[in-house]
């Protein structure tokens, strides 16, 4: 009997979680030091998906580096493209026409919904709920089909281009998107019925991975991670780009900064994204979709095939790249994960001298030890889900 009275002693155990592990959402490796069920130390190892995108970008023209941005966060490539082209346009000093801006805002919000849907599905699946995952992918499929209709690609879209978008949108596309937009709030209600007040869900997420507002800012967190702690920082409001200053939307913020608040924030963001898309469709102005800046934008393809001058022009722009003023520009945009920034240093040639990608997933992965240490091993899974990282973007 006396043996039972004594506290149970455990040896410290070190386990390697990942890089091949279904709950790490890609190739994230965590080395966990455990004392029984408690995590005493957590060390993330990233870089398994490092492809040298920054180095590649420095050796390509501004036009041909665009598809690289697709491969950053491959489940919301539309948003990365929008971020990339906005930064390049700022460097070039050109502006996209109004219609292109609205289209870009619209497709970026579609990308946001599709990314958040994946986050929702996988996050709840990790914690043990299978049903929302299946429903979530049903809605994502609609968006993927719409992307395919728009530009022929489902994942790596490269639809926004420097100076505008690749092609105009059709009425059929708008009709189908509007149908989706009207329908989507009821789908959101379905997810929320399944998850929000679910006892198991709340037990696993309320009070887990708490981070205060000051600390979150100091860590450099952005997106849902920061807003879950109650800071309303959103690039779309603080430094509006595209058509975000012309549409109305709210910024959902949390209070406590735990996994549950971040869940509520992202659910709110999906509803807001839906609202933005609806406004974009209703307010969509007529006009061209490509800026009239022949020195910096590729000529239309039909003219290239007919006309010698345009062919030469296209040839020069593709091989040499545009002539850009010397200087440097940083531009941040709000992607589903947080603030995606591009920093370009131009040396006056057609290729960026330095292309830096400020990836939100990278910053969010760095906060994992802070969230996991001192918690239970089961909460590590909840924390990986809540930081919402994509390793393609984290490792670049």
């Amino acid at each position: 009997m006396e043996d039972i009275e004594k506290p149970f002693e455990t040896k410290e155990l070190t386990i390697s979680m990942g890089p091949q592990h279904p709950a790490t959402h890609g190739v994230l490796r965590l080395v966990l030091n455990l004392q029984g069920e408690n995590v005493t130390k957590c060390t993330p190892y990233v870089g398994y998906l490092h492809r040298g995108i920054e180095k590649l970008g420095e050796n390509r023209t501004y036009f041909s580096a665009l598809p690289l941005s697709d491969r950053l966060d491959y489940i919301s490539s539309m948003n990365n493209n929008v971020g990339y082209v906005n930064a390049v346009e700022k460097l070039f000093g050109i502006e996209a026409p109004e219609r292109a801006k609205f289209i870009r805002t619209m497709v970026a919000e579609m990308g946001r919904i599709s990314s958040h849907i994946i986050w929702l599905g996988t996050h709840v699946l990790d914690i043990g709920a299978t049903t929302p995952f299946l429903y979530a992918f049903r809605e994502r499929e609609v968006i993927m089909d719409l992307f395919e209709m728009l530009c022929g690609a489902r994942l790596t879209v490269s639809y926004p281009r420097v100076g505008g978008v690749r092609n105009d949108i059709s009425q059929e596309f708008l009709d189908r998107l509007y149908e989706f937009v009207l329908d989507f709030p009821s789908k959101m209600d379905d997810y929320e019925t399944l998850v929000t007040e679910n006892r198991v869900w709340k037990d696993r997420t309320v009070g887990i991975g708490v981070i205060s507002a000051e600390e979150a800012i100091n860590w450099g967190l952005t997106g849902g991670m920061l807003r879950g702690s109650g800071v309303d920082y959103d690039v779309r409001k603080y430094a509006p780009y595209d058509a975000y200053d012309k549409v109305e939307f709210d910024i959902p913020v949390g209070k406590k900064g735990d996994c549950y608040d971040r869940y509520l924030v992202r659910m709110g963001e999906m509803r807001q994204a839906n609202r933005i898309i609806k406004q974009c469709i209703e307010q969509l102005p007529a006009g061209p979709v490509m800026a009239d800046a022949p020195k910096f934008t590729l000529p239309p393809k039909d003219l290239v095939l007919k006309d010698m001058e345009h062919l030469i022009h296209q040839f020069i722009l593709i091989t040499k790249g545009p002539t850009v003023q010397e200087g440097e520009v940083y531009m941040g945009t709000e992607v589903p994960k947080g603030e995606l920034g591009f920093y370009f240093v131009s040396d006056g040639t057609g290729k960026p001298y330095r292309m830096r990608v400020r990836a939100p997933s990278y910053v969010h992965a760095s906060v994992l030890p802070r969230l996991c240490e001192g918690g239970l091993i089961a909460d590590v899974i909840a924390n990986i889900g809540t930081i919402d990282i994509v390793l393609g973007e984290c490792d670049r």
Binding site: I217, G220, Y233, Y238, E328, R354
Partner: protein, 177 residues
Amino acid sequence: MEPVNITEKVKEIFPEEVLDVREFRGQVSVTLRKNRIRDISRFLHDDPDLYFDYLVDVCGVDYLGRKEKRFEVVYHLYSIKHRHAIRLKAEVSADDPSLDSVTPVWIGANWHEREVFDLYGIKFNGHPDLRRILMPEDWEGYPLRKDYPLKGPAKEWRGFEDVLERSKRFRDYEWHG
């Protein structure tokens, strides 16, 4: 606060440190000596009028053969409270590629500085955990330097040879089920 006023304030307090101020497309970059970068960061973070609480990004740039000092470490700062931004650039020479870490000011600088160390070989004094992060720990060379070959070093990385060797072995593996 307007970027011009911010730079003036920095100049006033650290007159020796500011080398150059440039504006391009409405964004102001301040080039600094590297020696007192942590003091400057601390000042920018703590001053109530400036209050740069959010370190957006830290990255390196290699100006091989273009500038006297080969490297620059670039800090992008933003104040969520006052909604203003500034870019700091610390010059680092090739002979002594090291400067003070700003992790005591912004803890989020940790991984960014590790990345600069990994890809440029610039050391950060006082960093809590300066290891390679994106490249394998036994990698030789610093890939984002301009003199690093684009297609990688001529000799394959040792770890990759191991993988090839092992895959060859597994290909001959016979399954006795």
